[in-house]
Point group: C2
Chain length 226, copies 2
DNA sequence: TATTTTTCGTTAGAGGATATAACAAGAGCA
DNA sequence: TGCTCTTGTTATATCCTCTAACGAAAAATA
């Protein structure tokens, strides 16, 4: 769905190719939602597209490449959603922006749980979730989080461990922004808390305890910005 | 591995049956560690046991029942690990016990990531992770957490939302302990934070950022008991 | 326009999975 | 000894991914 608006394909063939690839991905997403990543079947996609199985191997090297493509699209989509959430925050004060981002994160995950799981769930069997392309694609979302935190101003205490401090600065530097290690650490902790809540909610754990996930989330939210 | 020490099997046959089931599970765990839940193959287990595929269907109704069994074992094992961690806490002060439990939780997850994922990772395709047996099995671990928190004494502020308060008390009552809703909420939040950190670590996210997961965890730990 | 080259979709098939069915061989018990 | 119930075996149906070889269609070239 998030079409890369890069250089538009020139020749007719390439345009056709791109369109077929897009259609395949779309069907794949539907299938993913229904049967999870393990149920993603090239044959079935072909059947649903009115084309016979192996035809799709002209467009994707195999099941894994298709998955990778879906993961990258999902990262981009998540970053877009966060960005939109931040900029539509009611009142543009930094704390409000952070809260809006947290809600946006959760909303995206709830709207597309299968895609969220694709990003942050357990790695699939033979699949390397930390390949270079993927790490790069995940960057945009993290940048938004750090940017929002930096605006927040009230800097948290520096991490007490020297090695961690230097690891954090190295990480920040590698991503081309120059940021206080304390803020970087805080970003990571906020992310991990968000992920903890959201992934438990998606897995249905709160519901199976008879708790309203909305309430649980809102109860946790103040602790994030504090 | 965590043999249910319930009623020992009486007849010879039953004893043999139980032993075969145990062996199958053991091989299944090895396979799980290597190829993930999706790679769990009844045929392969049979081959590794020197027996031909369909033979195992005499012992397990199918792949799913085998998985369920593994999940239940894992819950029990986790609860044992937490219990041991708590009772071996250095100094028996409540805060130390809570920290010890958190470390125990992480240690267990790191020692057996595939089993941790089995419990708290995304649900498998056609598999109902909230079946009654499973929810019951998960109880023990949560009870340990709540028990430790209750000892802590310094009660947190009550949840501000009335519906959440009543949901929490209902949940606590259903599990046969009578506990302040504020403490129940806190237990859930602590659990979610622990899960957030641990699951990101297991997925390799910290490592791929160049951060030492030990350091990240220790940096977060004080915020849990506070 | 006519020919050559590239791309596409098809079937066939190898290899592997879950799971069922039908059958042979064994263990336990009267 | 003979009967029954349990176990493990093969054979089979049906699904999957992915490769190979073959027509057919479309694009590029002369």
């Amino acid at each position: 769905m998030p079409a890369t608006p890069a250089s538009e394909p020139s020749t007719m063939r390439e345009r056709y190719r791109a369109q077929v690839r897009a259609e395949v991905k779309q069907v794949a997403l539907r299938q993913l939602a229904e049967s999870g990543p393990a149920g993603l079947s090239v044959s079935a996609i072909g059947k649903q597209l009115g084309v016979s199985g192996p035809a799709l191997y002209r467009y994707f090297a195999g099941r894994d490449e298709l998955l990778t493509e879906l993961v990258i699209d999902a990262y981009n989509d998540l970053a877009d959603a966060l960005s939109a959430a931040i900029s539509h925050a009611p009142g543009q004060e930094p704390p409000a922006r952070l809260e809006a981002m947290a809600r946006g994160y959760r909303s995206w995950a709830l709207a597309e749980p299968h895609r969220y799981r694709l990003l942050f769930g357990p790695p699939l069997p033979g699949y390397d979730a930390h390949a270079e392309r993927l790490v790069a694609a995940s960057q945009a979302a993290m940048n938004l989080l750090i940017g929002t935190l930096r605006e927040l101003g009230n800097r948290p205490p520096a991490p007490s461990s020297p090695p961690l401090t230097s690891q954090l600065t190295a990480w920040a530097r590698a991503h081309a922004f120059d940021v206080d290690p304390a803020i970087a650490l805080r970003a990571i902790l906020i992310w991990s808390r968000l992920h903890g809540l959201v992934s438990l909610e998606i897995a249905g754990n709160f519901a199976s305890m008879g708790l309203d996930p909305d309430e649980v989330f809102e109860a946790q939210l103040p602790a994030l910005t504090a």
